[in-house]
Assembly symmetry: none
């Protein structure tokens, strides 16, 4: 499922966008200011970002510039102002598209689809670690060419580990990534899913190593 982060200070706008996007099977996360929005993006690695230009404190353009220092996630700018200068500035700062409020939901969805498609062609949505390959677009995993059948939680977990292959990922980082909105403690469940993953990876593929009291680490063969 595609993840989208909305950064807008008006709760009404957020709620409307959220409703529309959820009905199209997007997984929606909301933020009401720039800093918390950036935090959400870093944590969730969304497939697209909807960013309002008129934010209090840290304006949208600054958020975009900061974001582009470390992420290439597609960004769709929302704005009440229809000034060409502003538009050009945003696009030059790395925005992928620009719509002015008020906008139709159909148009928004269409533009969102366009920038996502463009993004997929510009960056390969595959992660590799040894003979393991994860295709993020199709939610497919394969080991030495053979398809691995993973449940959604297992895929998300392996994705998190593979993204930082060779390095330690702490329990906290894993749990916040795999269970973003969960309030109860998932460390018990995490252990069980790690167990399942290890069985599916077998002895030939990458190994999941436990770093006691810290986290896990994925190492090649």
């Amino acid at each position: 499922m595609n993840k989208v982060v909305i950064i807008d200070d008006e709760p009404q706008v957020r709620r409307l966008l959220s409703m529309v996007l959820k009905s199209r099977n997007y997984e929606v996360h909301e933020a009401e200011d720039g800093p918390s929005g950036l935090q959400h993006i870093a944590l969730l690695r969304p497939d697209a970002v909807l960013l309002d230009l008129g934010l209090p404190a840290m304006d949208g353009l600054s958020v975009l510039k900061r974001l582009r220092e470390w992420s290439e996630v597609p960004v769709l700018i929302l704005s009440v102002r229809d000034e060409e200068a502003l538009k050009v500035e945003a696009l030059e700062a790395g925005a992928d598209d620009y719509v002015t409020k008020p906008f139709g939901t159909a148009e928004l969805l269409a533009r969102l689809a366009v920038i996502q498609r463009r993004c997929f062609t510009r960056q390969n949505p595959e992660i590799t670690a040894g003979n393991l390959t994860l295709n993020l677009l199709h939610h497919e995993a394969s080991l030495a060419g053979d398809r691995l059948k993973l449940t959604p939680t297992e895929f998300s977990l392996l994705h998190t580990l593979a993204e930082h292959a060779g390095r330690i990922v702490t329990f906290g980082q894993i749990i916040r990534r795999v269970w973003p909105a969960q309030l109860s403690d998932q460390s018990e469940a995490l252990r069980v899913h790690i167990s399942h993953l290890r069985r599916k990876l077998g002895t030939s593929g990458p190994q999941i190593i436990n770093e006691p009291a810290i986290g896990y680490r994925l190492i090649d063969s």
Copy 2:
């Protein structure tokens, strides 16, 4: 080399576009009004057309309608106006995409590439998966030579699956494709249509496999 015809009354815009496209190895031809544009298209059989909506005498929409009577060449609309109604009208008249000026050259090139790729399927309007054949031009499906009677929704759904045969297509991708402008959640309806499709495909044709919580996959044999 790809041929492109530009129809725009402003020489400045034509020159800019022409420069950008030529640098990308397109063969560019310019026209300053509708009638001469149509003549160019008839003569040159280009691979794509860039059409300005705001033409003097014969407006862009009329040009498009006239063009669609005898040609299916991909058309990218250029316009200064960002009205959704106008956009919808143009798309319904047979335009393949719509950009509002001013636009980035990168965006223009990306959109041009997209509509050309789409056009390729227009020239080869058949999709095959095992003993299943879909004729996109006539909206006909056949299984092992026998004609399959499909409703429009079923055809669109099977089309989506067959296009990515063998790979997972997520629920979100399917729903956005089959119900483009729908705001309510269609996942319930999707399950029912899948059920109907499976019955019509029987046991001999390709099978629709469910990947729990992710999507569906069409496999041959």
